[in-house]
Symmetry: D2
Subunit: 328 residues, 4 copies
Amino acid sequence: MAKKITNIAVLTSGGDAPGMNAAIRAVVRACSFYNIECTGVYRGYQGLIEADFIKLDARSVRNIINKGGTFLKSTRSLDFKTKEGRKIAYDNLKANNVDALIVIGGDGTFTGGQLFSQEFDIPLVGIPATIDNDINGTDYTLGYDTALNTVVEAIDKIRDTASSHNRLFLVEVMGRDAGDIALNSGIGAGAEEILIPEEDMGTERLLDSLKRSKKTGKTSSIIVVAEGEKSGKNIFELASYIEENMDEYEVRVSVLGHIQRGGSPSCFDRVLASKLGVGAVEALMNGKSGIMIGIHHQKVVHVDLVTAIKDDSKIDNELRRVADITSV
Amino acid sequence: MAKKITNIAVLTSGGDAPGMNAAIRAVVRACSFYNIECTGVYRGYQGLIEADFIKLDARSVRNIINKGGTFLKSTRSLDFKTKEGRKIAYDNLKANNVDALIVIGGDGTFTGGQLFSQEFDIPLVGIPATIDNDINGTDYTLGYDTALNTVVEAIDKIRDTASSHNRLFLVEVMGRDAGDIALNSGIGAGAEEILIPEEDMGTERLLDSLKRSKKTGKTSSIIVVAEGEKSGKNIFELASYIEENMDEYEVRVSVLGHIQRGGSPSCFDRVLASKLGVGAVEALMNGKSGIMIGIHHQKVVHVDLVTAIKDDSKIDNELRRVADITSV
Amino acid sequence: MAKKITNIAVLTSGGDAPGMNAAIRAVVRACSFYNIECTGVYRGYQGLIEADFIKLDARSVRNIINKGGTFLKSTRSLDFKTKEGRKIAYDNLKANNVDALIVIGGDGTFTGGQLFSQEFDIPLVGIPATIDNDINGTDYTLGYDTALNTVVEAIDKIRDTASSHNRLFLVEVMGRDAGDIALNSGIGAGAEEILIPEEDMGTERLLDSLKRSKKTGKTSSIIVVAEGEKSGKNIFELASYIEENMDEYEVRVSVLGHIQRGGSPSCFDRVLASKLGVGAVEALMNGKSGIMIGIHHQKVVHVDLVTAIKDDSKIDNELRRVADITSV
Amino acid sequence: MAKKITNIAVLTSGGDAPGMNAAIRAVVRACSFYNIECTGVYRGYQGLIEADFIKLDARSVRNIINKGGTFLKSTRSLDFKTKEGRKIAYDNLKANNVDALIVIGGDGTFTGGQLFSQEFDIPLVGIPATIDNDINGTDYTLGYDTALNTVVEAIDKIRDTASSHNRLFLVEVMGRDAGDIALNSGIGAGAEEILIPEEDMGTERLLDSLKRSKKTGKTSSIIVVAEGEKSGKNIFELASYIEENMDEYEVRVSVLGHIQRGGSPSCFDRVLASKLGVGAVEALMNGKSGIMIGIHHQKVVHVDLVTAIKDDSKIDNELRRVADITSV
């Protein structure tokens, strides 16, 4: 039988994502509900090593569900990549009577957590939080839905100018390896073309497509380009290429950048964070470890951390098809 | 074999919902993609009867994906409730060479559509659009996600005042029969209590709960109340009741009202509308009729209209549980 | 020569308004800049009496410029209305070496402050913060610009429904005595009629006007109604009256309520708060007392508190004229 | 006595700005109010030359007050820079019985308009619309207030990440020649430093300042950089320079770009647009020409176009001072 958990530490690590605060809140509240102590760790794994801890109770997390970022802060830790560093981290947890750990972050966070949990036999559960939605075994990661809304609102603004001036805009959105943000925000923003890392449409086919669009009467266009897009040109080169080959258009570039990571989380992300936070505490109480709490078909699921971080981003072909049809 | 569809009419009916324009756009674009003519019908079923039609092509629906409401407008039609009215509607469709119909709306819309389709043997497909999320067979209806964001943003504003003044706010949200909006927005807005139509917690238990909250150190509180809540008191009576029984609080009421129906759709609703609109056209092309296009487990599904409108709103017990835990 | 100020206390009182936190921040930062100690007072005048104080330094106010409400909280104080209460307040300030006071709020706040300052010879400066914009001697009060944006965004959402359904909406906005919010938001939201406390257009003239609008082809309408409007009917009675007299319209009511007080302040309010906060500290340093720091013609001005709270709300006739012309 | 005006043409030219649609609406409505015909010109001066006209009545401009961009579209016209081009433009106006012209835009628009009006003796009035606020004789240009809100909302999002990671962000905002956007949004967003075109603080002083900030306990920082800033380094070079000289910080760059031009106008801009649009029509009716309608001390004023376009952007020293004090 699983040892009774009496003190759970929680940290956020890696790039911040909207909903992290809501997830911390849910962890803290669930601990309070089940009479478990909760220890906040500042600055991710580095804070574990430096014993940068704070006691958290139900009232510590009031009025944070709607705040972007993470009040526990996040940082990269080189020390945690060493066995020595992890040993110190473990000793600090023990010294503070912490007997389980919840880590909120993306694949880097899970990789470190998985290793730590195995080496030191401390129960550990992960909560997926990254705007890139590139974790296996969960339909959604925290922050992804919010980022999509941020992107479409930004492109809505750009479209005001595009359609006022009959211009072509290339808009770069996040996504080094995964095209989920580009594909969904591209459909949502009514983009004419969407370039994603998972496929290389080729610059010539892009030109053909733009020319076809022009013929059907389109007077302005938005092309959404994922960071990791595979044309071999960066977005500014791509803009020049199009301008050289299509007299009809003035081309402009907008790189949305870091605004995509911040902002007050959407209701979807707040509810998701609440479910996952509660689920993480309950999983630890039930003796689980080495897993991520995900959401699949609207239900909380447990996924092996090893599975969660497996890299196999696949394009959603149905969504690609819908994008092609609705952009005629 | 199904007769080839050559001209699809599309209308919106019932209460408007964010995403209706995006759905119309997807229908029109899919028609264009498949070389099918598309006929817009103004003012719902009444427009069918008055032959208030407009030809729509791919360019007719530019720059509307981000607009709330419905540019085809919506109205109630008493005439369509009569056999004579429906006969005229049918004759108008025939006279305009329309051979299939897509109706976008909620259960009232589907009920009328189901009857019309059976009486006059015209292929008809429904797209669920209502902020109430009270349609069976689809995980989400159009407008629901947007409404949740509108509600949590409004309550975020109210919380500024609540926590500045140590007040208790009762916030009424939509939902005569279904507590989905209240439950999700309540969790998302960090509400202390959530009153929904599916259960009557009793005013005494509410008081007990508020007193417990107060003891745990809460200095302000938000109670989210669905319109159809079952305490037997209206929201103003409820406020008086609490004020009389809890000296500690000044109680205020806010009825969110019609702002919940409007606004630019969220990315989620725009993508959903795009999938459902394309799915509706393709279903008609494949000879389907009398069905709703829904989304289940992130895939487009076909649901009998009769099933879709069956009234059996069930509370999501898991969500109720998460609400209780995260509000400690 | 004025005695050198060494410790300034700051409090917020009355209804909260967006920008209060930004004003506190500016006061604290200006104190830090000039090497003056700063003492935060929780819960307004009541906190003075209860000595509910906190030392504030430049870092205490990080990341609050964009937050609605007031982190120092606000409450009504019956005790402060008594001479005994004010004496205790004064003693508490002296005991904490506070030698000047900045009060952020509206006319009630200023009335109390004016009395207190005279009775106890403590330098006191006011910063006008109320969404109602009903303070004399300043072109703008803190929170007013933000409230206008909140109102027009809400009415934009309602208009989605109004124009989808060809409906008439009555929207109630704040303003018991002053029509500024109604008049400006009414113009900004494109309202057809605007009812304000400063004039009674009469219900018959309202009907005439609506009928004229209908004739010119308007199919939906928004009427913005200030709380303190003088028709003699409340907004629900007004709706019934219109519905009875105009068959053509379905009439709906929306009371915007408390959302108008909250929310992240606009850039305008943040900059205004920064100017006023700095101005208040500098005024005290220059030996001023019994004044409000206002903004007039984009410059910081000093206004006697007695003048500031004088009640003489006047309608802006030019704006009224613009409203009439742009709503044809 | 001035000849009676019977038909006013209106166009938008130059970069688009939020509030242009609201200004067009006000012009059209004022024409309708005064029984003057109104002719919309598509695509600015180029549309004059191509006689790309449309009759506008009061109902043509419904539901556009809240839309960004300009439905009349805007484009650059090389043809209008030639005398021949302007002659054709004039002939087109005469052929359509237009006897006065309202041009909405910035200094380029006014320069062209001034020349045209003098050459061809056609009454012409300008309305200042540009997010840069770089027109003389008016306290505000259309779009400026909205752009400030867009910028602070974007930086609020970036701050979530900055403070979660203890990072330094350089955020580039618009303003080639004028620092108004940078200075106001910098104060509004709580920036630690603000670099503007009107002064070169020097990269060493910047470093000194950042080091001082760090010492006072700041753990993250935002530097707002106007496009036309004078350090001699572009923003990416500036980031590298800081990173090389301050080990303590990871530096990130965000270029806000075109999102600043779009979006639904703020209430302030909608009201301003309404005043200016009405003022423009009334000025023409009163025989005025060669002027811009501006706003000064909250009143509509007439400014010679020659004065309006005079280049003498001056830094607001008081605002600079407030920025320095509130960023300690």
